[in-house]
């Protein structure tokens, strides 16, 4: 199989006997061994486990047993997912002292039940409080399109591993944008499902009322295939809804005809670079989306998401801040310490505003099926960069990366981030749907992929001469 094969192609080849799961996994491990020295996407590679799992899949096939829709597909997970036998780092130094996880995260189990093969755990920003993909303990994950640039975070290794061709799919988490930001900077498709859709059991949390998990991939088909394999109620996550799986893959071919698609105006056009607006216009043009809608109070929604994140994060880490403050990434520590000092009524008011805002945005979805917005205000900045020029003014970089993703995850709406392959660097657009309508966002993404408006570009040095 070529390095750039999709998960769907790999699974078909393994199921049909054109290749073996062992051959696919050995090739993935070799690529990781060679390329990850530069990309720094992985913090652990599970060679033995992966090869044992691949041999079991090949044995199943040889014995006529079903091998699953992801047979032999290598995948990796952000290191906040429990992997049996490994401490769950969540990007931190402190968690290295935790005992090894005794069981896999629920979603790891579901993907392996579908035939996929876990090959490792991925670098991430400390405790997921990050939009850059930089990590002071493990070093920065590097963007395969330009290794001097950020992957985006906090699922930075997830972005680097998939965009760099090490694995076709990876899992990440998204509290305020941590799947959609690396998807944008690394030129990938990313799905942040509806809040409560996928089980978060046995993953390290950040902001319980905002945490989502989801996949990153190089094609919409792979995103849907992976997502479908992970759906379904799980009593181990109290937030995971008791709702039957609603497979998205079978509906992809229905395209975007008949769907009412609008572009987010106002807040979502301010503070965006020319590249972000060009990508948005290209996607809107391809879909014939002429209508503009205003998502009301989006700036305030972003502010409220910020307040809830920093205070819930502080509550989560309060004991560690008391006992091991010096072992944090200093930037994360100082944000969490400040979060611990926010007066409680302001947090309650943010949660009240959240319900009001949700009602306003749901009203919008009575007259539209999907809303388009930029994923990030700019393409991948350089690693270590602290400021950015926007609208002719120098602004601090880090707090501005998530301005377009935060108001959306704040109310748990499903989003597919699609990559517009601009040169020299790609940038993403968000396709935002009403709660539980991941299928609509995926159908639109698929139509854009078919018309070649969006694509996950192969990094320059990996292209055939």
């Amino acid at each position: 199989m070529r390095a750039w094969a999709t998960a769907g192609e790999i699974a078909a080849a393994v199921a049909g006997g054109a290749t073996s799961a062992v051959a696919v996994v050995e090739a993935a491990l070799a690529r990781i061994g060679e390329r990850d020295k530069i990309l720094n996407a992985f913090t652990a590679v599970t060679n033995e486990r992966a090869l044992a799992r691949a041999r079991a899949i090949d044995a199943d096939r040889a014995n006529g047993r079903p091998v699953g829709p992801l047979a032999g597909v290598p995948f990796a997970v952000k290191n906040l997912f429990d992997v049996a036998g490994l401490p769950t780092l969540a990007g931190s130094r402190i968690n290295r002292d935790r005992p090894p996880a005794v069981a896999d995260a629920a979603l790891v189990g579901r993907l392996e039940a579908a035939g996929a093969v876990l090959v490792g755990a991925l670098n991430m920003g400390e405790y997921a409080y990050d939009f850059t993909g930089e990590n002071v303990h493990d070093g920065p994950s590097r963007n395969p399109h330009d290794t001097s640039r950020m992957t985006g975070g906090s699922s930075g290794g997830s972005g680097g591993a998939v965009a760099g061709g090490l694995v076709p799919i990876a899992l990440g988490s998204d509290t305020n944008g941590s799947i959609r930001v690396p998807s944008s900077f690394c030129g990938l498709f990313g799905l942040k499902p509806t809040y409560g859709r996928l089980s978060r059991a046995r993953t390290f949390p950040f902001v319980a009322s905002l945490d989502h998990l989801g996949p990153l991939a190089r094609s919409v088909g792979d995103l849907a295939l992976t997502y479908d394999a992970m759906q379904g109620h799980d009593p181990d996550d109290p937030v995971c809804v008791d709702r039957p799986p609603e497979p998205a893959l079978p509906a992809l071919g229905r395209g975007s005809d008949g769907l009412r698609i609008a572009v987010a105006g106002g807040y979502f056009r301010r503070g965006a670079s020319p590249e972000a607006l060009a990508a948005l216009d290209r996607v809107a043009g391809a879909l014939g989306a002429a209508r503009e809608v205003e998502i009301p109070e989006a700036a305030r929604a972003r502010a409220a998401a910020f307040v809830i994140s920093t205070t819930e994060g502080a509550a989560l880490h309060l004991d560690r801040l008391r006992t091991r403050a010096a072992d944090f990434d200093p930037a994360v520590r100082d944000r969490l310490l400040a979060g611990a000092m926010v007066p409680a009524p302001l947090v309650v008011k943010a949660q009240k505003f959240r319900r009001w805002y949700r009602a306003q945005v749901l009203q919008l979805f009575e007259s539209v099926d999907a809303i388009l917005a930029p994923a990030t205000p700019f393409t991948a900045p350089r690693i270590g960069q602290k400021t950015m020029m926007l609208d002719g003014a120098e602004v601090p970089l880090r707090p501005n990366i998530g301005i377009f993703t935060q108001p959306i995850s704040f109310i748990g709406l499903p989003v597919v981030a699609v990559p517009v392959p601009l040169e020299p660097l790609p940038i993403g657009v968000q396709i935002i749907a009403a709660p539980w309508r991941e299928d609509i966002a995926l159908r639109i993404a698929h139509a854009l992929e078919k018309s070649k408006t969006v694509a996950a570009p192969v990094p320059p040095e990996r292209r055939a001469p």
Binding site: R300, A304, R322, R333, A338, L346, K349, K352, W356, R358
Partner: protein, 63 residues
């Protein structure tokens, strides 16, 4: 909520640290204060938005 002065922020940091049992090194303070200033400015945007007394917070408890 008016913009909070630097000295007042220092008082909040010191008092909160005492209440919560957080040992804060002097060198960390400027950054904590800066983060707190940003957070309180954003929180003020939410605070000033009028909502009815009956407004329910987003998370709801199920008995």
């Amino acid at each position: 909520m008016a913009e909070i002065e630097s000295a007042a922020l220092d008082q909040i940091v010191d008092a909160s640290a005492a209440v919560l049992g957080l040992a804060i090194e002097p060198a960390w303070k400027p950054e904590i204060r800066a983060n707190l200033a940003v957070t309180l400015r954003l929180a003020a945007m939410v605070d000033e938005f009028a909502l009815p007394d009956e407004a329910e917070p987003a998370p709801t408890f199920e008995a």
